[in-house]
Symmetry: C2
Subunit: 621 residues, 2 copies
């Protein structure tokens, strides 16, 4: 009897979700109701019988997590919230209106949305990160449920997630593929060949269950099977109908992302408005995390010694691991190059090897931070470009984590341009709310790693392959948004502004210029975003508006452009010569490549001489 | 007898490749000899018996293509070239030295290298593009051979390639996975479970053959089986030993990317230097392509009508298809949004639907252009961030193709930030040799599409979702590197500089300012890279150095930064107020979101008023 009741209730709940999806999208005159309708029964069963979630305590690590990898089915998310009683009927009808937290695709503006989705292929790899936390860090028995679209199965990131979930034996993760056959424009490559989806998943080490996604009893059995499966994740491959329930659109092409022409008729066809309330099961009570932070003891490096900033990153990360039990580290199979291995050796239980799968790596960090952990993520600076969409979306998710890109610029030498991060500053500056740091010495690196750990949003640290001289004493503090004036006098005629390897070249250039009687100010602009505009303004004032910026990066969007932007709307903008990598680099020795790119001491000095020789705007005034 | 000879010759050739890999990396004191040595026998058999390639005519479409997806095995590439007699013994010993075309990872600086590799997971999807050309466009019986590493099988892009290759039934494509078990840092997730690799490939629709990668007879049989397999691509899963042939390093961890300590001993262990010459089989003679270009007839739009620039892109693309038989088009399952569907309907045989797999889409374009086609590629501007590493590497490949990102900026409205391209200008500007265009009207868009088709390198066109007024007559010509002054007078006190949607807002702002007696110059800076600095300098001169830039993009790395960079090293740099999207956008109507972001006419006018009220640097001089 109870089973019959559950079945009927779930069927009705599915219809309610459909009706509400139509109401929302019709009120908004946009949205994806047909994509919500195919998954309505799947979610009705999940929230009515399998999800454990306390809406009053959304951040609790004891909660299950529900991620809509197919974020365009947002009306289904909000329909669930109405049924759960946390969003009102009035509120759902403000869907997609300016100021409503019920955005076109789900975002964490709502407290129950952990991560933003809407760029397909991201929800499942993010779910892998959440499941890693649940299985290896929290161990509270929570589960992660991810609703996937079948179109997004074409994204390689989904298969990174499949491989990693099986590798880590994430039996607390369930993927639900809503196989409605139809994408935005037509049929998917797989269509309704649900067995193909299942076979691929099995080949990647998952347990797979094929089910009719509109048969609520079969769906319930599949969820039960997922919960009972030990040692591997489960995928539920659900054959569904896009636009299910409305004969005129059901399983037909051409209705993606379109509200209904006659919503009242459609709602009537579905049996009218419903107001079923569901009581989502709460998780078992949990104990608080017990590990407490300790005082951070950063590594020390002797001034004048030579240490690679990437090595200092690893040392600092290990120190941070000792101090902060919430820090977790991920690396993309290059931990012996990025020096993340120093953390891995010290705290293996908080280190996740993500192999050569940068998208999954960043996504896992997004998932880990969503459930309260503090990830640091590393690979070569160049290879973060592989995960750029994930970083972009992390900002929409209001995520907080740190990335470290090593082997930046031509200073890596012989490996050549494929391995040189030359666009990373531009890419990371253009991430909303980001922090971009580029230290030139080991002690500075250590302090910046510590500062990043206290910074919200996406923070990025750029490190160098070669060893560089230690310039700063270990006790010197470095803050985000700061800079250092390494040389200055009352007679400065020009300022040389660099970061990372180019600070050392700028210092050499200042020596060359000094021999000729030209006083040059040298600024280490280690914090590229945010940027210390006060120090730059003082340099403009002191030098009569003559600046040389120099960076081991393409000319576009890097340090030079950041300096220009900071000074653009000032009373007397300076004249700036921007030195950067303008030709495609080749293989060669680091010093050869710095010279070939025109960013070594000789070229900096030449640019300074030219600026000093020609009266600047300021001097002519 | 012949067979025995072939077997012995191939074994010896494999040893020669190993010896030469050791010689090169020892001379360079860097490189990845152990990664070359595992694949040496595979390649010996391929070039000695199965590859068809005319080294004297590398661009011939009749040639097979050989792509090293594991680009770090570059010494093996160059060892093949020495054996083929196109690179001398002296030349290989300049490996990785400045000026040598034998770079650390292969690049098209050498005429026989079609595409740069070294960012793992790219060679196979690029090979899919080459195989699409071979099977559907050239039909000359050529084959594509791709050597893959087993570590890179963790990259999702590889599985995009597997799915697409099977979907397109690319039986002219053979992937060879060199399963040497060991990555840079340790064992892969799959290790030597070669059956796992094979099962996954089969689940994705491939024919799979497992083989001992050092048994040259078995390898030859596998290649023969690949050639004989019809209707599906073949993967050869080869179990190999990293560092094969040298007992001290063979199959041991810790020797990735390291030259040998004692190269002479290692060479002796391999039996010493060899000088085998191979005659790689040439392809059958071929006929020239017969299709000839016709005169381009661009679409026309009436001034004052409202047309979305994305629609004009589709119209122009169809026109280009009629004029140029070498133009091919790819889209990521959104062709009804980007309007690539207009080309697809007109020229289905030159249209490739790439589904939601942006990495594979861009990689296929790289492959298609490498064999002489001219690809245009489209998806939402936001989703090109998914393929950023492929675009970065395309520049290293010296590739020429065009990308069109639609639905740029907050002007898309209700769908919200996940769908808004707000970092695309920054990202594409920071690609070496790129062109970045952002038209504001339909006729301009059509002319720019035509101009892109004549431009080398990576070119990017940013289009808008909403319809915008047609400002320019159809006959007006637009060139890359140009701009348009839409309003000007002798009394201009300020210049308003925009592109795309903000041109229309700037025009409205100029009207508002005119009512107050403020004359504002309006500049349509449709070519953001390269940029018309002459027109900007004239505006600086005319307005006393007062500029307002306005863009539907993050503040970093976009139009405003491009303007600043162009004027940075001029005698009297202007004062620039940069309007851009500074807060995370929400869902809402386009006009609401432009206002909320501070980039609509009212905000532009306010910025102009402020600049005019405060004496600028120039006026105070």
């Amino acid at each position: 009897m109870a089973r019959v009741n559950a079945t009927e209730r779930r069927k009705e709940l599915g219809q309610q979700f459909r009706v509400d999806s139509i109401r929302m999208s019709s009120a908004a005159k946009s949205g994806h109701p047909t994509s919500a309708m195919s998954a309505a029964d799947l979610l009705a069963v999940l929230v009515d019988g399998y999800l454990h979630y306390d809406f009053t305590e959304p951040k609790s690590p004891a909660n299950d997590r529900l991620v809509f990898s197919k974020g365009h089915a947002s009306t289904l998310v909000y329909a669930i919230y109405r049924a759960a009683g946390v969003v009102s009927d009035e509120e759902i009808l403000d869907y997609r209106k300016l100021g409503s937290p019920l955005e076109g695709h789900p975002t964490p503006v709502l407290p129950w949305v952990d991560v933003a989705t809407g760029s397909l292929g991201q929800g499942l790899p993010i779910g892998v990160g959440m499941a890693l936390a649940g299985k290896y860090l929290e161990r509270l028995g929570s589960r992660v449920w991810v609703l996937c679209g079948d179109s997004e199965m074409a994204e390689g990131s989904m298969w990174e997630a499949f491989e990693h979930a099986a590798h880590f034996e994430l039996d607390n993760l369930t993927a639900i593929i809503d196989v409605n056959r139809l994408g935005q424009r037509g049929e998917t490559m797989v269509g309704w060949n649900v067995e193909v989806h299942a076979e691929r998943a099995r080949a990647f080490g998952w347990h797979a269950v094929i089910v009719d996604g509109h048969d609520v009893e079969a769906v319930a059995a599949a969820f039960a099977e997922a919960v009972a499966t030990i040692g591997k994740p489960t995928v539920i491959v659900a054959r569904t109908l896009k636009g299910k329930g409305i004969a005129a659109v059901e399983n037909r092409n051409g209705f993606h992302g379109k509200p209904f022409d006659d919503p009242d008729a459609a709602i009537a066809e579905l049996g009218g408005l419903r107001n079923i309330r569901i009581d989502v099961a709460k998780p078992k009570p949990r104990a608080e995390r017990t590990a407490k932070p300790r005082v951070l003891e950063l590594p020390h490096y002797e001034v004048g010694s030579e240490v690679a900033t990437r090595k200092a990153y690893g040392d600092a990360l290990a120190a941070l691991g000792a101090a902060r039990p919430d820090v977790v580290v991920l690396d993309g199979e290059v931990s012996n190059s990025t020096f993340a291995e120093l953390f891995a050796k010290a705290y293996p239980e908080r280190y996740f090897e993500m192999f050569i799968a940068e998208q999954q790596m960043v996504a896992a960090a997004v998932g880990l931070q969503a459930v309260g952990w503090r990830p640091f993520v590393s690979t070569f600076a160049a290879f973060f470009s592989r995960a750029y969409d994930f970083v972009r979306m992390a900002a929409v998710s209001r995520a907080t984590f740190s990335l470290c890109g090593s082997h930046a610029g031509v200073s890596i030498g012989e490996d050549g341009p494929s391995q040189m991060g030359l666009e990373d500053i531009a890419a990371f500056r253009a991430v909303h709310g980001s922090t971009v740091l580029h230290p030139c010495d080991a002690n500075q690196t250590a302090h910046l790693v510590a500062a990043m750990a206290e910074t919200s949003g996406v923070s990025y640290l750029r490190t160098l392959r070669p060893a560089t001289p230690v310039l700063y004493p270990p006790e010197e503090q470095f803050e985000i948004g700061g800079s250092r004036v390494l040389r200055s006098s009352e007679d400065d005629e020009v300022a040389l502004i660099g970061a990372g390897i180019t600070v050392h070249e700028a210092l050499k250039a200042a020596d060359l210029l000094a021999e000729e009687g030209i006083a040059a100010r040298v600024i280490d602009l280690y914090s590229i975003k945010p940027l210390d505009s006060e120090t730059l303004l003082a340099a403009v004032e002191a030098t009569g508006g003559r600046l040389v910026t120099v960076e081991d990066h393409w000319p576009e969007g890097g340090l030079g452009d950041a300096v220009l932007a900071a000074l653009a709307d000032t009373e007397e903008p300076p004249r700036v010569v921007k030195l950067a990598v303008r030709g495609m680099p080749r293989s060669g020795k680091p010093e050869e490549l710095l010279a070939a790119a025109g960013i070594d001491a000789e070229h900096i000095a030449a640019a300074a001489r030219r600026l000093v020789a020609v009266p600047s705007g300021r001097l002519s005034r």
